[in-house]
């Protein structure tokens, strides 16, 4: 057997791509070939469309794709979280049914965790799954569900046992979104967009083989999904960029990216658009104002340092060394950068900050920053939850004593909405 290292992997990937890549081909057709070869997800098990490569070598393969202009497997959206979760906890039947169609991009997925009464406290879910006859029957409500109106499948966290304490009372399911018991309604946000949905279940059905892991093990599975979500958050923020090359397969990929990224249109604004700060200072004639200069420099330095900190974490991961505390700081850092950037944008706007839409500068884009930034400190774990995670898991400070884990969940004072 040849040794596996950067050079051998690069050579092998390059040879395969040079022999097989064709732009004049359907997207799904190409991805089926890719899945079969193992080069689409080389770090996955060879039994499931991968090549058992160490994660650290994936960037090498990605570089080869980029070099030749080849398109990869479908990577954007919740589908990657579904894949990671199914790989870790799914049955062979689930892997066979879902993984390939995730890689080809044929199926759209959504995540059904948050509820009106449980945001930070996701394990406080009260959506119920009752086993009746020969299937699971789902009733309840989920919220903040991206792409729910388009999704074929949902990753569902539901309560299966009310006599057990909070966590062991939860189970994890794969739910068919295209069924009568599922109603999807858009949810309008403070910035005017409706990127998320509310999902209502009225006797929705789940077949028994769509239970992931065992009954009562839903929290462990959820943790896997959330871990991958946090890890992927930076990638999502960096935005999926479509190739501008001509060709049928590129057209199809552009379509896919446009559809999948549609709900995320305002995401660059929610992280503060620090790329615009210097340009805006010049445009408003304030680039010599010492106060403005200090404030811009503060934002830029924090953002650069956060970027370098993320690189430290990634380098440690690639070298197979244990990650230091730097791995858990990115989310909180980006939310602080976003707020600071919004403050500077406000002072650069002056009275124009009073206006929005086509009456605001840059056709309302700047106003959109001001009303989108608050999401950054909430979505994917609030700043407060991030600080809890950093202090409890990284710094090993004592965990908060909670009042809901030592008794049957049915006796726990219930979360209520507003």
């Amino acid at each position: 057997m040849t040794e596996i290292n950067e050079d051998t992997v690069r050579a092998e990937a390059r040879a395969w791509l040079e022999a097989n890549w064709i732009a004049d081909c359907g997207l799904v057709e190409w991805r089926l070939k890719l899945a079969e070869s193992g080069w689409g997800v080389p770090h996955w098990p060879s039994r499931w469309y991968g090549r058992d490569l160490p994660v650290g070598l994936v960037p090498v393969v990605e570089e080869e794709f980029k070099r030749i202009g080849a398109i990869g497997v479908a990577k954007v959206g919740i589908r990657t979280l579904a894949a990671a979760t199914i790989l870790a906890h799914g049955t062979d039947l689930q892997k066979e049914k879902f993984l390939l169609r995730i890689l080809t991009g044929e199926d759209i997925w959504c995540q059904l965790f948050s509820e009106p009464g449980s945001g930070s406290d996701v394990a406080g879910a009260v959506t119920r799954a009752d086993f009746r006859g020969n299937q699971w029957v789902i009733n309840g409500q989920k919220v903040w569900t991206t792409s729910a109106h388009k999704a074929h499948w949902g990753l569902l966290l539901a309560r299966t046992d009310w006599d057990k304490p909070k966590h062991p009372g939860l189970s994890y399911f794969i739910l068919d979104m295209k069924q009568p018991g599922v109603t999807v309604q858009p949810l309008r946000q403070m910035n005017g967009y409706a990127s998320f949905n509310q999902v209502f279940f009225t006797d929705a059905k789940v077949e028994p083989e769509m239970l992931v892991s065992e009954v009562g093990n839903g929290w462990a599975v959820t943790t896997t999904t959330l871990m991958h979500e946090r890890r992927g958050a930076d990638a999502l923020r960096s935005w999926a960029v479509a190739s501008d090359k001509p060709g049928r397969i590129y057209d199809e990929e552009r379509d896919e990216i446009r559809t999948t990224m549609e709900p995320y249109k305002w995401y660059p604004q929610r992280v503060g658009r620090i790329d615009l700060l210097l340009e805006r200072a010049r445009a408003t004639g304030k680039s010599d104002d010492p106060v403005v200069r200090q404030e811009i420099a503060k934002v830029l330095s924090m953002s650069k340092a956060a970027e370098w900190t993320a690189r430290r974490a990634r380098t440690a991961q690639e070298q197979g060394r244990p990650q230091g505390p730097e791995g858990s700081l990115g989310k909180l850092a980006s939310s602080l950068v976003a707020r600071a950037a919004a403050r500077v944008h406000t002072s650069l706007l002056g009275p124009d900050a009073l206006l929005t839409g086509e009456d605001g500068p840059m056709n309302g884009l700047l106003a959109e920053i001001l009303v989108s930034v608050p999401a950054c400190s909430i979505a994917g774990g609030t700043d407060e939850i991030q600080r809890n995670i950093i202090s409890e898991r990284v710094l090993k400070m004592p965990r908060e004593r909670t009042g809901d884990t030592d008794r049957p969940f049915k006796d726990v004072p219930r979360n209520t909405v507003g």
């Binding site: 200069r293 330095s301 924090m302 340092a305 809890n388 202090s391 990284v394 710094l395």
Partner: protein, 371 residues
């Protein structure tokens, strides 16, 4: 090596950390900071020669190891943690840096081996009463006299200036900005130790009344090598500062874990946990910047200057803020002389200002920013 250290570097770091834990306990720091010199020659020589610290960045031709600024910054981070009382920053960065950047081969051959071997302590004197960190604040004059030069004027805020064997001086000669070396015991030189707010890092005022000086590099050609020396010093200091900040953070955390109030460790209160999370974030960001800046200077990157100023700005804010939190977490005992927190608090304050504060470096960062 912008984002990680090699295993050799990590090994060097842990050896140095052990050595400093042994030789620079806070008890020892307290003893040395009360002395007029601020350090002891023999004790410092023992630490220095054990790991060849002053030799690190000096070229092999002049008795050093020829290693990188990044390697030297590991030394600074560890010294900052241990709050070592030694003339290392003045000797190995300010003075040796000026000699390496400005000196002719013959001058380097004459001056560097003594520093590398730890026999010579040295410093760089450039700031004057106008308090400007830039070269253009220089008023001290060098005049040609009898085939040599004599210096007239003053320098202040000179790091370890009262004890240095050798002083590199920035002066204004007829040809323009020039560097000179002066013997610490030269005639006409009056040295006075200033009362330093941070007793672990001492400053002096030097008055020059017709002091005989030897040129370092060509007369009138000092601007570029001086600027290079200062930017290297800025990065070294930033690394020293993040080392100190990290140590303070860890000590405050350890205290919060054992301090009991209302029947439980104060570390279990969310206000304490969130404060610690914020401290960790601020210190880690400053660390990333300090590491990056050192490697960027070593590699001659386009963003090296901006990164150096960024690193000092973040280190200034992070170290001072961490020190404020650390006193607060300790509560009343944190305000006492007997508690060690104030030792780092004062180093934080002193380092925040030395070579320019955060606002000063933020402005310079922006001027060097590639938009």
């Amino acid at each position: 090596m912008k984002f990680s250290f090699s295993s050799e570097q990590e090994e060097f770091r842990s050896n140095l950390r052990r050595l400093l834990a042994d030789r620079s306990s806070t008890k020892e720091v307290r003893r040395l900071m009360e002395t007029d010199q601020g350090y002891e020659r023999d004790g410092w020589a023992a630490i220095n020669t054990a790991l060849g610290l002053t030799a690190i960045r000096i070229p092999e031709a002049y008795g050093g190891y020829g290693l990188s600024l990044g390697d030297q910054c590991i030394v600074f981070e560890e010294m900052g943690r241990a709050l070592l009382c030694a003339p290392y920053f003045a000797t190995a960065v300010l003075a040796a840096g000026a000699i390496m950047n400005a000196g002719t081969e013959a001058e380097q051959q004459a001056l560097l081996p003594g520093i590398a071997a730890g026999e010579t302590t040295a410093t760089l004197a450039w700031v004057e009463d106008n308090g400007r960190w830039e070269a253009d604040g220089t008023m001290l004059t060098a005049t040609a006299e009898g085939g040599g030069f004599v210096l007239n004027g003053h320098k202040t805020y000179v790091v370890d200036g009262h004890t240095a064997d050798l002083i590199v001086v920035l002066a204004r000669a007829q040809q323009g900005l020039s560097l000179f070396t002066v013997d610490g015991k030269a005639g006409g030189l009056t040295r006075r130790a200033l009362k330093s707010m941070d007793p672990t890092r001492k400053f002096a005022r030097l008055d020059f009344g017709g002091v005989k000086a030897q040129p370092l590099g060509a007369a009138g050609a000092a601007a570029a090598p001086f600027a290079r020396t200062i930017i290297e010093a800025v990065v070294c200091l930033a690394n020293e500062m993040v080392g100190g900040a990290d140590r303070l953070r860890e000590d405050a955390l350890a205290y919060a874990m054992m301090r009991m109030q209302f029947g439980k460790a104060i570390a279990s209160f969310q206000s304490m946990k969130h404060k610690q999370a914020d401290m960790l974030l601020e210190v880690e960001l400053a660390k990333s910047a300090a590491y990056y800046a050192a490697a960027a200077l070593d590699e001659g990157d386009d963003d090296a200057l901006a990164a150096a100023h960024l690193a000092k700005a973040l280190a200034s804010d992070a170290y001072t803020q961490t020190a404020i939190h650390a006193v607060q977490i300790h509560g009343g005992i944190g305000f006492t002389w007997d508690n060690d927190t104030h030792l780092w608090f004062k180093r934080a304050k002193s380092s925040e200002v030395l070579l320019g504060d955060a606002g000063y470096h933020r402005e310079l960062m922006l001027q060097n920013w590639a938009a």
